[in-house]
Amino acid sequence: MMQHGISVPTLGVENLQVTYAVAGGPVSAVRDVSLTVAPRECLGIVGESGSGKTQVFMAAMGLLAVNGRASGSVRFDGREILGLAPEALNRIRGSELTMIFQDPMSSLTPHLKIGVQLAEVLVTHRGFSWRDAMHAAGLILERVRVPEPQRRLQQYPYELSGGMRQRVMIGMSLLCEPKLLIADEPTSALDVTVQSQIMDVLRELRFEAAMAMILISHDLGVVAGLADRIIVMYAGRVVEDAPASEVLQRAHHPYTALLLECVPNLRDARLERMPCLPGQALGAGMQELGCAFAPRCPRATELCRLERPPLRAVHQSVQVACHHPLSP
């Protein structure tokens, strides 16, 4: 997994388990997930609703709901952060380790001007004066291509479009020059045109800012344009971990291949019916027997229904959890 020699990974998750205490006993949301993100690497995390893709990083950020429990290890820049006290986490969160979410409206405080919300980050984390922080806030808006940044600083969130709010959130996440930016479905609530603009902003940052990035989405089409490596999750587990180019050219897990087919595209000119996965994803709480994907898998055999396939390397830098992988 260590692809960058001896350098310390920016994020190292090992054997992470997330369970929720609910009436009727604990429910697993994340099962034994391990992953690493190297400095400056962009990792894409793909999966359907309920696959646990968000839960991995909510656990890492210490943002689980009160009935959630995480175990295992999450090392950020070499330091263990799982189970860290809130005060210690607060020094990292929002400065070195930042996260943006799907809904940029509910991520911003409705009654504070954009400028105040941005400047506050630098005042809190970096001890800037309000005047200097405001200046920096204007610069960061320019960097994420917000038109008329000085005017925006004086506006409230409701005065901005969805795309503009997401740019503000990205700008806010960059203020303290983080080592890692986690973007959870950053474009899912936006129009396709605005989505492509936000992706362009993130793409630019990949090459300008010296930070790692994790891009979480249900849409492989969104992740594919940006990620160096892609991890596919299903029912709380990693089922494929491979370089993005490998995933796009020859997916190894049948689930990955099907997800790729489902991306609505304009290529297959004569296609009438829209490709989709049959059935629905098993969410948290299901009992594990065999491969969780077997009920929806065209390649499933008796073996798949009885025995869970372990995540194993099929060749260099590609790991797959499948008894019958495609293109060996």
Binding site: C42, E48, S49, G50, P147, E148, S161, G162, G163, M164, D191, V192, T193, V194, Q195, S196, Q197, M199, D200, R203, E204, R206, F207, H218, D219, L220, G221, V222, A224, G225, L226, A227, D228, A244, S245, L248, L258, L259, L260, C262, V263, P264, N265, L266, R267, A269, L271, E272, R273, M274, P275, C276, L277, P278, Q280, A281, G283
Partner: protein, 344 residues
């Protein structure tokens, strides 16, 4: 009164010069089109283009400032409320947020029974139950779902419930407002394919609203493209995708993410020139010219001065652009049409 740019045989719905104002803001300006029985019309545009406003104005859920909506000999906008209520059984709608559009305190069975109780009050309870179970199975749910509550279902299943409720009375028109935008891409196709099957079976006409042309393409016979409250292009599906005439339509096509198109890790050249640039202006523009000109890289003097009217490109294709003839001969139809907007 303007007639639609593209004629439809056997039309079910005839919309003429429909305009909606929110205060001083004109959300919809002079929209005219037809919808044939059993036809699917795709309606595409960005947030703020007026597509949801159009859907709501058609069904008189919001008041129109001007225009007519002729539906089987009745103008839905001027008829009395009793007449409107009678027509509503044939005019159903499903929404973007499938869970939010279901009453959390009603079981699925109760939600599906409601339209029958209102429009077929004479139906025996046992027959009603049978109709509900039949429809649940038809949309791919188990009969048992009738006894459960909406929150027990996934987003995709909730959308199936919404469709089942809308189809209970076998409507002649189903308006679908972004029915798959909040769903995982892996199951969007399930819903789109289900709608196509139901249309085959019941002959329902569908108005399918989406911001994603790649989704609209699968289901639509014809497509309307809207921008800032106006129709800017109208065409039969294949004609539109083979040769999009409006620069805005081209921009929408370009914005569809394609995993095979953007190589990972390599920045695309001249990102600024791609559809990437700009968003529709917020607020009423009260344009003296083309509403798209501030984002259009082909805009010329005439685009500032004159509002382009829909004019025929071919029998099945109309566009509202002063420059479409010049652009039609440009070598690459996917060549970007959009640039950074000028500050207002």
């Amino acid at each position: 009164m303007p007639s639609p740019a593209v004629a439809v045989n056997d039309s079910l719905l005839e919309v003429r010069d429909l305009s909606v104002n929110f205060g001083a803001f004109s959300a919809l300006t002079g929209v005219s089109f037809s919808l044939g029985a059993g036809e699917t019309l795709g309606l595409v545009g960005e947030s703020g283009s007026g597509k949801s406003t159009l859907a709501r104005a058609l069904l008189r859920l919001i008041p129109a400032a001007r225009g007519t909506v002729m539906w089987r000999g009745v103008d839905l906008l001027s008829c009395d409320s009793a007449t409107l209520r009678r027509q509503r059984r044939d005019l159903q709608m499903i929404f973007q947020d499938p869970l939010g559009s279901l009453n959390p305190r009603m079981t699925v069975g109760e939600a599906l029974a409601e339209p029958l109780e209102i429009f077929e009050p004479g139906l025996a309870a046992r027959d009603r139950q049978a109709r509900i179970e039949e429809m649940l199975e038809r949309v791919g749910l188990v009969r048992d779902a009738a006894r459960r509550y909406p929150h027990e279902f996934s987003g995709g299943q909730c959308q199936r419930i919404g469709i089942a409720r809308a189809m209970m009375l076998r409507p002649k028109l189903l308006v679908c407002d972004e029915p798959v935008s909040s769903l995982d891409v892996s199951i969007q196709g399930q819903i789109v394919n289900l709608l196509m099957d139901l249309q085959q079976e019941f002959g329902t006409a569908i108005l399918f609203i989406s911001h994603n042309l790649a989704v609209v393409r699968h289901i639509s016979h014809r497509v309307l493209v809207m921008y800032l409250g106006r129709i800017v292009e109208e065409a039969a599906r294949d004609a539109l995708f083979a040769a999009p005439a409006h620069p805005y339509t081209r921009a929408l096509l370009e914005a569809v993410p394609d995993p095979t198109r953007a190589p990972a890790g390599i920045p695309r050249v001249a990102d600024d020139n791609l559809a990437a640039a700009g968003e529709p202006p917020v607020g009423s523009a009260d344009p003296s010219g083309c509403v798209f000109r501030n984002r259009c890289r082909y805009a010329e003097g005439i685009c500032e001065r004159e509002i382009p009217r829909l004019e025929p490109v071919s029998a099945q294709h109309a566009v509202a652009c002063h420059r479409w003839r010049a652009l039609a001969t440009s070598p690459d139809p996917t060549q970007s049409a959009v640039r950074e907007p000028r500050p207002a």
